[in-house]
């Protein structure tokens, strides 16, 4: 009985240790430094000032960048959630052989094994003015000028995000769906429910943990990204954290740290909102 009681603590101990040493401790430093002052040609100077926060939060640029990042997040979230749901549904409920399902699932993961940077670059020969899509459309006579908005645009950013992040939706949804008792669905169909009714009333509610977790992945990945948006927009769009890289280049740690803390607070709120809708931890404890 005592073992039963201390068991969860033992089980969670390794995770706690890693988080304490490598997240809480460094993050504590980051939070402390965010109240420091930056002096040009000297570096970060210990202090207690709210100036970094005031500067960032009172700047229109900050808000515009967050707005644009949130816009990307919502678009990508919607697309990846729909794709992730139906692809998982297909793999779990339509592919009869488990091994085939796993094989198809793995096929979705292979591109994921190639460097993100290379995968982003790989869109250029496809979307560019001289790229495959423009050439094909021109040959077909559908357009006579190459479409410039295919690359270095918001469109290109969304395409790259969907390409890079859909898997983060598929994996948790697939795993959640795999747990659904298939006899439940048969019972519903036997009772005369239509296929879409079953999806809406049975499958969707039972996969909500997966969807919520996938949403958390996608939201954090897009909100924290600074790289995809810069490369795919050709530097024409920024992201919430795009200032960080430049600031750390000249040791302006205080402003970079404050920027990181603000992002953390905003995204934590978004994640909490998602967990309000679906309490993923409640689903575990029975």
């Amino acid at each position: 009985m005592t073992l039963r009681r201390i068991l969860p603590y033992l089980q969670v101990a390794p995770l706690t240790l890693v988080l304490a040493l490598f997240v809480v401790l460094p993050l504590g430093l980051v939070v402390a430094v965010s109240f420091w002052r930056f002096q040009f040609l000297v570096g970060p100077v210990p202090d207690f000032t709210l100036q970094n926060y005031v500067d960032l939060l009172s700047s229109e640029t900050t808000w515009r960048l967050y707005l644009s990042t949130v816009k990307f997040t919502l678009i990508v979230l919607a697309i990846t959630a729909v794709l992730g749901f139906w692809i998982s549904y297909f793999l779990v409920f339509h592919v009869r052989n488990l091994l085939t399902a796993i094989a198809l699932f793995l096929i979705c993961t292979v591109p994921f094994w190639t460097s993100n940077i290379i995968r982003m670059i790989s869109w250029r020969p496809v979307l560019g003015k001289e790229g495959l899509i423009n050439q094909a459309l021109m040959k077909l006579g559908l357009i006579d000028q190459p479409l410039a908005w295919l690359l270095f645009s918001d469109f290109a950013v969304v395409v790259a995000y969907v390409h890079l992040f859909t898997l983060f939706m598929i994996v948790p949804i697939f795993n959640a769906m795999a747990r659904i008792d298939k006899s439940l669905l048969e019972a519903a169909v036997d009772a005369g429910a239509s296929r879409l009714d079953v999806v809406w009333n049975v499958v969707l509610p039972l996969s909500r943990t997966g969807i919520a977790l996938g949403a958390v992945f996608v939201v954090t990945l897009v909100m924290g990204d600074f790289f995809v948006v810069i490369v795919m927009s050709g530097g024409l769009s920024g992201s919430a954290t795009s200032g960080i890289y430049n600031d750390v280049q000249i040791q302006n740690y205080p402003r970079a740290a404050a920027n990181a803390v603000i992002l953390l607070a905003i995204v934590l709120m978004m994640a909490t909102a998602i967990f309000r809708v679906v309490d993923v931890r409640r689903e575990l404890v029975r």
Binding site: L7, P8, Q11, V12, P14, L15, V18, L19, F22, V23, L25, P26, L27, L29, L83, W86, F90, L91, R96, L99, I102, L104, I107, F112, T114, S115, N116, I117, I118, I121, P125, G131, L132, H163, T166, V171, P172, I173, F174, N175, R179, E186, V189, R195, T209, G210, V216, G224, F227, T241, I244, V248, A256, A260, L268, A271, V280, R281, L284, V285
Partner: protein
């Protein structure tokens, strides 16, 4: 399954179509880089393809100025494998812990979420300073680099375990226990088979997230670059299709690994069905 065997519902065809389109979307640009990796010596990073050959594959593994791809790979691979194993062990273990109520659960859960969110570049500096100033340890890919990668992979692993363990009926464990199974038997005979596919997912994430991580590796791997950093610095100097050749090689290796993985699952399944 919803219909008697043999007859596919119409949704099957619609979704099979969607799936195919998705796979084309995933592989389309990859295929263009596979083709372009066979560029001739004067070819560029975009079409057209000029006198195709193996120039850039040679360049990749030869002693040319395409960066130290071999060395970077020899660090990234073991690092990703270690991160993968640790991620599976730690997240599976923690996942089970969260099936019971315990004090501090919320704090640990939200710290894990925080770890997922915090911008990698900033955390990278934080971990570097922590290692050097707080622990007094040198910064290496296999120490601070490993730690930095775990802060990235563990939240993913933990959350996937939530999806895997959600609605896992505790009565199965109890039944096994009541039937006289030891704790170890319960774990190995009842739980492992149930969570096994989930563990594969965690392993996959652990491996690829580590193998591909740039921001958190940035300052934590020390003077020996891992592959994504090497590739990033390559893009600041090298412009040859060697980058594409690298993508092609990586993908080819992935397919081999997956074939091996699938093969072993198939063998395990057959053995198990024979035993059962």
């Amino acid at each position: 399954m919803l219909t008697p065997a043999g007859r596919r519902p119409w949704t099957f065809y619609v979704l099979a179509g969607l799936f195919t389109l998705f796979v084309i979307f995933l592989y389309g640009p990859m295929i263009s880089i596979f083709i372009l990796s066979f560029q001739g010596p004067t070819g560029g990073l975009v079409f057209p393809l000029r006198d195709p050959g193996f120039t850039w594959f040679h360049a990749l593994f030869g002693q040319a100025r395409t960066g130290d791809v071999g060395g970077a790979f020899s660090r990234s691979l073991p690092l990703a494998l270690v991160v993968m194993v640790l991620t599976v062990l730690i997240s599976v273990s923690a996942g089970f812990a969260f099936r019971r109520r315990f004090r501090g659960a919320s704090a640990i859960f939200f710290t894990a979420i925080t770890s997922l969110i915090v911008p990698g570049l900033v955390l990278s500096i934080g971990i570097l300073v922590t290692f050097r100033e707080v622990f007094g340890l040198p910064v290496r890919w296999y120490s601070s680099g490993l730690a930095a990668h775990l802060t990235w992979t563990l939240p993913f692993g933990l959350l996937i375990m939530f999806a895997v363990l959600g609605r896992l009926n505790p009565s199965w464990e109890e039944a096994a226990h009541d039937l006289g199974a030891s704790r170890w038997q319960t774990v190995s005979q009842v739980l492992v088979p149930i969570v096994f596919p989930g563990m594969i997912a965690v392993a996959l994430f652990g491996f690829t997230l580590s193998y591909d991580e740039f921001p958190r590796s940035w300052l934590t791997v020390g003077s020996k670059n891992t592959l994504p950093i090497e590739i990033w610095t390559m893009t600041t100097n090298v412009t040859s299709p060697a980058l594409y050749a690298l993508g092609t090689v990586t993908t080819a290796v992935s397919f081999v690994v997956i074939a091996i993985a699938l093969g072993s699952i198939w063998v395990i399944q057959r053995r198990r069905s024979r035993r059962g």
